[in-house]
Symmetry: C2
Subunit: 298 residues, 2 copies
Amino acid sequence: MPAILECVPNISEGRDLEKVEKIVDAIRTTKDVKLLDYSSDKDHNRSVITFLGEPNAVAEAALKLAKAATELIDMSTHTGGHPRMGAVDVMPLIPIKDITIEETIELSKKLAESIANECNMHVTLYENSASAPHRQNLADIRRGQYEVMAEKIKEDMWIPDYGPNEFNPKAGMVAVGARPPLIAYNINLSTDDVKIAKNIANVIRSAKGGFVFCKAMGLLIEETGKAQVSMNLVNPDYTTIFRVFDMVEREAHRYGVSVTDSEIVGLVPMKALIDTAIYHLKLDNFSMDQVLETRIWE
Amino acid sequence: MPAILECVPNISEGRDLEKVEKIVDAIRTTKDVKLLDYSSDKDHNRSVITFLGEPNAVAEAALKLAKAATELIDMSTHTGGHPRMGAVDVMPLIPIKDITIEETIELSKKLAESIANECNMHVTLYENSASAPHRQNLADIRRGQYEVMAEKIKEDMWIPDYGPNEFNPKAGMVAVGARPPLIAYNINLSTDDVKIAKNIANVIRSAKGGFVFCKAMGLLIEETGKAQVSMNLVNPDYTTIFRVFDMVEREAHRYGVSVTDSEIVGLVPMKALIDTAIYHLKLDNFSMDQVLETRIWE
């Protein structure tokens, strides 16, 4: 089994599904990559595509997708509810297997340069690839959205890492970067008191002194009438899902409520769940090689 | 990804490693199967081979291995510490992926018949393939060992399912059958009092009214000086590793000792560990499709 890299580009088209299909074809027609999922949102006028494969093949497919997106999408006429700044808007590269975050950063920079050259658009490196700490967070880079980008990129703090001399109004700008796999994780409480969920979120989130790699908020789920702690675990090797769960459960008890259940949204790396089993079963000397499936697929 | 079947034949040769290599070549030279592991024990004069792959290819490789073993091993001169009855002694087939236990039973019967015909040896079906309840347990079929088999197989209860008219003294008899994947699992206690481990083993083992699919014993580990509950979980989808762990921990507390750690011996199906995570994180609606690796390798 070769190394595996995942890529989750977001493109600024979610209404014209024929265009989306043509753009997704960039993945389908590339060797050694696999399209896992794609979905379009009409209100957002945006599509999210998930694919993975051999790292160089993933970079090749990502470049082809950026080319197709910048050919078919015109940002100067784009409307939609989701913040955006480019035809291909954001392109995270996520190391899955036998590739380090450092190698992924290096690959992301090559990809960013190729996109800038071949799509004639500006590219800002973000997340682990960022060229400065204030450029790690996508929301900060994108603040003001497409409409202000031609001016914003003239500011010293926001000069793009790659791109043409002139802002390309059709293509806009894209953020490209490496980041660890994240887990979208929700824990439901036996209460409709959203204040409790918000308080617990504030205990566990990094912004308030909680776990370093945890972003969290409290909200009320309309369908169930239950309060929920909703989070992204952005580096689950370090901020582990099982310790976050235990802390949320302990805090819930402090308010006299309990955890009814939890849910992982989308995909999760096998390791995060097996680490949970290792912890609870005290499997101190367990090796991932002992998982039968890793031997089948190695 | 096609269906996957595992096979773990035991052969009665553990001293002449050239012969073992020739026999293992039967696996290496078969398409669509993968040799995972093999190891030889001189005292036992026995080797255990683990391989897996596409089910029909596994059956083909198993037959080739049986032929090589019966050509190269002569049971009439065999000595060794481990109970045995044939050149190829036991051949379990274990469904791993996209094959049911019923389909595995069917395949085991075809394989048993082929071995009988092509190796001119007796074959008794065992475990889930057994033709009668008293023939499920290998130890019962093999009791008395090779030395009594020519006579034992004349008894009504022990007439082999397949084989020649005359007992073949060179080849002996083999047990072939389907069984679910088992987990060899040990839990270590913070005590050197082996009596506590034995008492706990008696609480959890099926033979004493405990979990249906749990075989267990208590013993003292010389190296560590710690008492250990050692078990086989023979159907971990039903008798789950996490509930067994919890019960052992509770019983240990009853004696004023604790569980220091546990260990899985050899391979474990991914599902058993992910089920543990699902239980402890209360992931009530989790689907195995959400495990990233299953999407890569599907």
